[in-house]
């Protein structure tokens, strides 16, 4: 039994040694990435080649989880960089004092439009995603085409009573994309009352998934026929996986701006700055376009293969500040008026 005692004491020693030692290294750049693992791996590889620094990544394709983690780790930040995820996540972190501002010298050369970065340098937008409508071709041709119904291509097509119960959207309460969709309808229809009348009609047709990717899976698996989601996610999760899915960007669509930011108090502030400089160059934007099918924010980088050029898309006049300021109120109103 002496052995047990020894094992226990070693375990306890291990607990303390490990809990004390972490967070002390400074040569690595630790990245929290909200992008898929293919893009993250390629971007980090390119950065390592360019800078000679080593990197370490937590890749969780869920920006909310990472922003929660950054909030929870406030007293002892574990990471240097928050990579990817809509600026709707980066901006609140900056407001809560969790990000470090940085004026990147690469910004001048990158020639980003002013809407794509924070004037104080808290976050930089390095890719754009746009909302799309998509449908399951098999089921559509079998069940709807014979009844003379045309494939959905505009927001109003989603109200077609023939689609009752067959439309899936990410929930505006629990996803960023779902909220941007609701705000889009307000901007498109001119005022809130008209938008909520429209949304009420939509809700009669639709179900709302608590996670954004959930809806894409449902349509590609034929559990539902029509969906609304980020175009690049539809392409990479459904179309490129061999599922019978067609995707279109409707007129009056809206975008998310994918950000990168420096976490305040992270272990390697100098490496973090180098990383932001690197993200604003062309290489990572091309990588993201190639593997993630997301549009670059740099005007000199081409659109992703197989996606329509960004200039061919028709965007609604989206007031980001208004949308963020009214987010909590609109979410509660959605629950009270729509109840889904």
């Amino acid at each position: 039994m002496r052995r047990t005692t020894i094992i226990v004491s070693w375990l306890l020693v291990g607990v303390f040694a490990l809990s004390a030692g972490v967070g002390a290294q400074g040569t690595k750049v630790v990245v929290y990435s909200a992008l898929d693992s293919a893009v993250t791996t390629e971007v980090l590889k390119a950065f390592e080649r360019r800078s000679g620094l080593r990197t370490e990544a937590l890749t969780l394709a869920a920006a909310g989880t990472l922003s929660t983690r950054i909030t929870a780790e406030r007293a002892r930040p574990q990471a240097d960089i928050f990579l990817g995820g809509s600026n709707d996540f980066h901006a609140p972190l900056a407001k809560n004092g969790l990000l470090e501002p940085y004026k990147s010298p690469v910004l001048a050369e990158a020639k980003l439009a002013p809407e794509f970065y924070d004037p104080q340098g808290y976050w930089y937008g390095w890719y754009i995603g746009a909302l799309s409508i998509f449908y399951n071709r098999d089921r559509f041709e079998r069940e709807l085409a014979p009844r003379g119904i045309r494939p959905p291509a505009s927001w109003d097509d989603l109200l077609n009573p023939a689609l009752r119960g067959q439309v899936v959207l990410p929930s505006p309460v629990t996803t960023g994309g779902g909220f941007i969709f609701v705000a889009t309808q307000i901007f498109r229809l001119g005022n809130e009352d008209r938008a909520f009348d429209w949304l009420k009609q939509l809700a009669a047709n639709a179900t709302f998934t608590p996670t954004a990717p959930g809806g894409i899976t449902l349509v590609s698996r034929g559990e539902a026929i029509v969906g609304m989601n980020w175009g690049h996610d539809v392409r990479s999760m459904a179309v490129n996986q061999g599922f019978p899915v067609e995707m279109v960007f409707p007129a009056d669509t809206a975008t998310e701006i994918g950000g990168v930011s420096i976490i305040k108090g992270g272990p390697n502030p100098i490496g973090a700055r180098q990383f932001v400089d690197f993200i604003l160059t062309r290489t990572p934007q091309d990588i993201n376009a190639k593997y993630g099918l997301r549009y670059p924010t740099r005007t000199d980088a081409p659109a992703p293969m197989g996606m329509p050029g960004l200039t061919t898309l028709k965007f609604v006049k989206y007031d980001r500040q208004w949308a963020i300021d009214n987010q909590a109120r609109l979410r509660l109103k959605w629950q009270q008026v729509i109840g889904k």
Partner: protein, 546 residues
């Protein structure tokens, strides 16, 4: 008795024992009560007061309670009948049925839901390919079916013990007095089993309320308290909302738990009669036996379908569209999840070891009868995690151990310790039950020879309690490697685990890779159980495993 009381009272307080009491109290207070406090106190009072005005919170509470009632009723009913069948000695294939009822206990908690989507969804092998039906399995009906299958084994296991313990002489006596089969069941079996039924239902109810894995996969757009916490964090980064929803979930689970401890567990009659009788059970008449057999067969088929679906899913190219054989999913699953699988085993083994050690020491201390108030507190702290849903523990550790003085965030220890303390009740109850069976005379003999309190633990109880220790280790290990509800909140960059990757794969539509990785995870748990059985057979015996 008087002599024993005298020796215990007469002896002074052993300094080693006092130190052990202090350390264990500090450990349990720090890792069980402190995180609990952090979660409950994170939302402000205003947040709690705003709950009735928020339709989504109300819907989530309503739905959680509705699922609890529905799934608890069916799972307990199925478990009851199934256990009744298993304990009829003349039921054909009863050993097979028993084995099958244990299978879901080894499965990751989301596996039933995942498998039933593959089998009964719109592209389901059964619904579409075989029956040509068009079924939407997402929603409360699907969740109801899944939770029934996932949780009936809990009820069946408890009921089986109860039925086994009913002395066959009672049945013989009733029959000799002329009772017919139904009368016998109604007037003898059922009344004796009633407290067991209550215990089983409460355990199932707590599990259903806290069920995260199945709900996150199959509940669709149905808001539930257990999953709402995760959606709040994943979609919005809303830590406040997450803490609020798990705090709301805590109310009913703790209420059920206290009710179980205070009322039901005191009314288990069957233990009194013991297992003294070797008398064979009377034969079951055919009109009872064959419906029972048919019932067990159907239930067993539903369980086996889970495994068939996952295995088939791991090898079919594109489920529902292209049924050709492929190994691509294994390639993808292993490149993206192989390292995580190894890490799962490591995390599981360390946490299970810690669980078993802490549980054993705690059980030893609470059996001392030296400081009744301290012992009662320790006992309460050691069983309390059983009432805490996994999502609650996950958020509790996230909030409590990311800042000094306990900055474990970013290390594997935050996850390991969360799993460790969540599983304490299993080890603790096994060890406490084992301790009760050891005659105090052995300990007194050791003390008379001059052994200190801790020496008694080390040289007397540890060797005798190897059985409960092993059973606690295996149970905790399996639960740790298959856990999802805690893992989703606490994985770190260097310490991803397999279940997390599987959830990401299911969510991302990579169902084949998810099925492959799930199969690999199942293999790990079966190997663990196998090794434990061999170890027992080789003589690591101690007391019989509870």
């Amino acid at each position: 008795m008087a002599v024993r009381a005298l020796t215990l009272k007469g002896q002074g307080r052993d300094p080693g024992l006092v130190a052990a009491f202090v350390v264990m109290s500090a450990v349990l207070l720090g890792f069980v009560l402190y995180p609990t406090y952090r979660v409950i106190s994170y939302p402000t009072l205003a947040d709690y007061l705003a709950v009735p005005a928020n339709p989504r919170w109300l819907a989530a509470m309503r739905n959680s309670l509705m699922m609890m009632v529905l799934s608890t009723t069916t799972a307990s009913l199925v478990g009851f009948v199934y256990a009744y069948g298993m304990t009829r000695e003349d039921l054909p294939g009863r050993r097979g049925f028993r084995l099958i009822s244990l299978l879901p206990l080894f499965a990751p908690p989301f596996m039933v839901a995942f498998a039933y989507i593959l089998m009964f969804g719109r592209q389901g092998l059964v619904t579409r390919a075989l029956l040509g039906l068009d079924v939407n399995i997402f929603g409360w009906q699907g969740l109801w079916l899944v939770q029934t299958v996932a949780f009936f084994p809990y009820a069946a296991l408890i009921m089986e013990h109860i039925f086994e313990a009913i002395n066959p002489t009672l049945e013989h006596a009733a029959r000799d007095l002329g009772a017919r089969e139904w009368t016998l069941f109604r007037t003898v079996t059922l009344p004796l089993a009633r407290p067991g039924i209550a215990a089983a239902m409460l355990l199932v109810a707590i599990s259903v309320l806290a069920d995260f894995g199945n709900a996150v996969v199959i509940a669709g757009s149905l808001p539930l308290l257990a999953t709402e916490a995760w959606f709040r964090i994943e979609g919005l980064g809303d830590l406040n909302g997450a803490a609020l929803s798990v705090s709301l979930l805590l109310l009913p689970t703790v209420a059920l738990f206290i009710f179980e401890r205070a009322w039901v567990s005191r009314r288990l009659y069957t233990g009194i009669t013991g297992r003294g009788s070797r008398l064979a059970r009377p034969a079951t008449p055919w009109f009872f036996r064959w419906p029972l057999f048919g019932f067990c067969l159907i239930v067993a088929a539903f369980v086996l379908l889970v495994y068939v679906a996952v295995l088939a899913g791991a090898f079919a190219r594109t489920w529902g569209y292209n049924w050709s054989f492929t190994l691509d999913h294994w390639r993808l699953g292993m490149t993206q999840g192989g390292a995580q699988l190894v890490n799962s085993v490591r995390v599981g083994a360390i946490s299970a070891l810690l669980t078993s050690i802490i549980a054993l020491i705690t059980a030893f201390l609470t059996s001392r009868r030296q400081w009744p108030s301290v012992e009662r507190t320790l006992d309460f702290l050691a069983v309390l995690p059983g009432a805490l849903p996994g999502v609650f523990i996950g958020i509790g550790f996230l909030l409590a151990f990311n800042a000094p003085p306990f900055a474990l965030g970013g290390t594997p220890w935050i996850l390991i310790l969360a799993l460790t303390f969540w599983h304490i009740p299993f080890g603790y109850q096994a060890a406490a039950a084992g301790l009760k069976q050891i005659d105090r005379a052995i300990e007194e003999a050791a003390q008379d020879l001059g052994a200190s309190g801790l020496r008694v633990l080390k040289d007397v109880y540890l060797p005798l309690l190897r059985g409960p220790f092993l059973s606690s280790f295996v149970t905790s290990f399996i639960r740790a490697v298959t856990n999802l509800s805690i893992v989703v909140f606490l994985v770190t960059p260097r310490n991803l685990v397999a279940t997390y990757s599987i959830l990401a794969m299911i969510g991302g539509g990579f169902w084949g890779a998810a099925a492959a990785l799930t199969t690999a995870l199942l293999l790990v748990t079966f190997v663990a159980v196998g090794v434990a059985r061999v170890a027992v057979a080789r003589g690591i015996r101690g007391l019989p495993v509870a």
